[in-house]
Subunit: 410 residues, 2 copies
């Protein structure tokens, strides 16, 4: 299962994430793609293939064939084009598809773009209902299960089993908003302290500290007990892109290529209650192990990680199953500051899904873009000093399809 | 762009295509997959990855994450799973993804499944409207363009430009129904003669010959002038599957592995009227050329072809642009019987999309399954004698994304 070829990242693009009312899906995909093309110094005619990761352009935007449409719009004809769909892990799957296109010898130069446009959908519950089509229909969905409800169950189980505190999950949100405030492309570039101060100024209440503010039902309502608004990522629009090439030609385009040296992907049971332990993401254990083995690295070698905190409980659990902390110690580690920029293992310096935002198909690509910026030393105020090796966790379904990508400086 | 690794096909599965009222999408994907697994003598635990090609399970079936759901249902956990979407060429794209997974060294054994479940959708126009999301919104769709209307335009242009006859396109349908009548998994296992005889028996009319029957507005109504019902493929349910492995281990599983030695894929302009010549499928010229070059073959080496006759005009045009006939001579060649089983180059011995049926995402995989049967000598009454080399054309969008796969006996 070891691949002989590494693949280099020679260009990145990333739109602002957020509620982008004046841009459609195709606009976002084009913007991120053209930025990555510029960033890589490539010429349009060199591209062999394009992979687009997006969860639901058919249902959200009434567009299919997004990949071939994009190839024409940005003048990459006649490059091959495919759309990769893997729920909220569509972006990670698209990166893997691009990697395999090159490692197989079928392509030399590949564009990978992830994107989603969702905030125009204002029918109450429409997005959550659409995303819930990932769950098992007979065993889960028809009983009303949605992703937030599964995350609520996971949180209760985790807190009880490991004697953890809900406030520690709030600490993850606080850290991610702090990081997001330093990220010019994040959906929310505001700390939770700033949200609180703004609420106080607007006369919505008065709080002595941030934890009291986060307990308030009006400013931080319960979404899926015990999870409140600030424990959950927003609905966002946006796109991110990578230019990949075979390692041999990377230096022709770019002084600081970043290598993809490990990729893993694994599937777990579709029905969540069939898992032996709800608090273990078995697919992540397997796929991160694959990525470490392929790259000949271990969790101790990682300098920075981008994990999939669609719900803040996920960052805690993922930080354990990807090998940074012992089982049950992830939330406490975040509370203790070990995952901050400058901590033992900085997690989500980008702000994560919580603050950077979560345009479904964009996320898996955006995670890699952030690692490229970190490894190139281009992450500005949120730079992890001396970062040379990074890893991602892109979480699809409710943990039944997870992808992990390991990148290194050349 | 030449790949160093070939990939072997060691197992095939194919559900009956048709109006399958008692089966859902997941049932169809499972059925084809399990048949392919049995056919390949593999063990569930050997699989590294699964690729599902399907156009619109989200919109047609309210299911997303089909690939990971399938992996769990057929006990291939923890194999990686991805859903590949490329309109009516989703199946071909999934085969290519499976090929690249193996050729890259990332997987040894891969399951590729294509499927679609559509006939339960009874809202008038709903399927055509969904498929029309492939067309260019601003330039085409908002003016009412659908795929049948583009096929009608192409037909008029072709008939005028090359002085061809509409009856020659009917000849393609007649041939494909004749072949389909010999294919136990075809949607229609009935010749057009039999349709006519049945109509006569039912007192719907009386005709001296099949061409008069095909000119009748009641038994063969105009769908998109000049195309009538029998010039157009049906809406079908079904699935088809392949087990792929690296060549080195193929003989462990199978006495008659079939090799994928060439794959090409190319994109053309999204807006059809931007093409220099409406009657030329430039993407097919490019992608079939890639496939021939990769396999070191030429059109003269091909013994049997499965082309994408969603509309019978397409089979004519494709038979030219894939290199079998000179431009403008494809329809005449079919009229002259050159594309029949036993002719110069048998096209669509399966019955093609016209008679085998066209469950969108299944088609690109089913084309390869038919070639495997032909190359193994397992095609029964529709066997092309001594077939050793075959090629496919899987047509996505309205020809803006085409894939060609070349297979050979080992």
């Amino acid at each position: 299962m070891l691949t002989m070829n590494n693949v280099a990242i020679i260009g990145v693009g990333h739109t602002k994430f957020g509620r982008l009312i004046d841009k459609g899906l195709m606009d976002l995909l084009c913007e991120a793609s053209l930025e990555a093309l510029d960033n890589s110094n490539t010429s349009e005619k060199d591209f062999n293939s394009v992979y687009v990761g997006a969860m639901s352009p058919g249902q959200f935007n009434q567009i299919s064939g997004v990949a071939s449409a994009l190839v024409d719009r940005i003048s990459l004809l006649p490059a091959a084009a495919d759309h990769i769909k893997n729920g909220p892990a569509s972006g990670g799957s698209a990166v893997k598809a691009g990697f395999q296109a090159i490692a197989s010898g079928m392509s030399d130069l590949v564009l990978v773009v992830g994107g989603e446009k969702m905030t125009h959908i204002t029918t109450p519950g429409a997005i959550t209902t659409n995303v819930a089509t990932i769950t098992h229909h007979e065993a889960e969905r028809r009983h009303g299960v949605s992703l937030p409800s599964l995350a609520g169950l996971l949180t209760r189980t985790y807190l009880e089993k490991y004697n953890a505190k809900l406030e520690w999950l709030s600490d993850i949100a606080i850290k991610n908003h702090k990081n997001g405030a330093l990220n010019p492309v994040a959906h929310f570039q505001k700390t939770i302290d700033e949200f609180m101060e703004s609420a106080i100024r607007k006369g919505k209440g008065n709080w002595d500290n941030i934890y009291d503010y986060l307990k308030n039902d009006k400013t931080n309502p319960i979404i899926a007990d015990p999870l409140r608004l600030f424990h959950i990522c927003p609905i966002s629009d946006g796109a991110a892109a990578l230019v990949l090439c075979k390692v041999e030609i990377a230096k022709q385009y770019c002084d600081t290529p970043i290598l993809i040296t490990g990729i893993g992907q694994a599937t777990d049971t579709h029905i969540v209650h069939e898992r032996e332990d709800l608090t273990v993401l078995k697919a992540l254990r397997i796929c991160s192990d694959q990525a470490y083995k392929m790259a000949k690295k271990s969790p101790e070698d990682i300098d920075v990680a981008e994990l999939h905190d669609a719900f803040e409980i996920l960052e805690a659990v993922e930080s354990e199953d990807i090998g940074f902390f012992k089982k049950g110690e992830g939330a406490k580690a975040a509370h203790d500051g070990l995952t901050e920029i400058g901590g033992k293992i900085p997690i989500n310096p980008s702000g994560g899904l919580k603050a950077r935002g979560h345009p479904l198909g964009a996320t898996g690509v955006a995670q890699v873009v952030e690692l490229v910026w970190q490894l190139r030393g281009e992450a500005g105020k949120r730079q992890v000093a001396g970062a040379e090796t990074g890893i991602t966790c892109n979480f699809g379904g409710f943990g039944n399809n997870i992808i992990s990508i390991l990148v290194e400086r050349m």
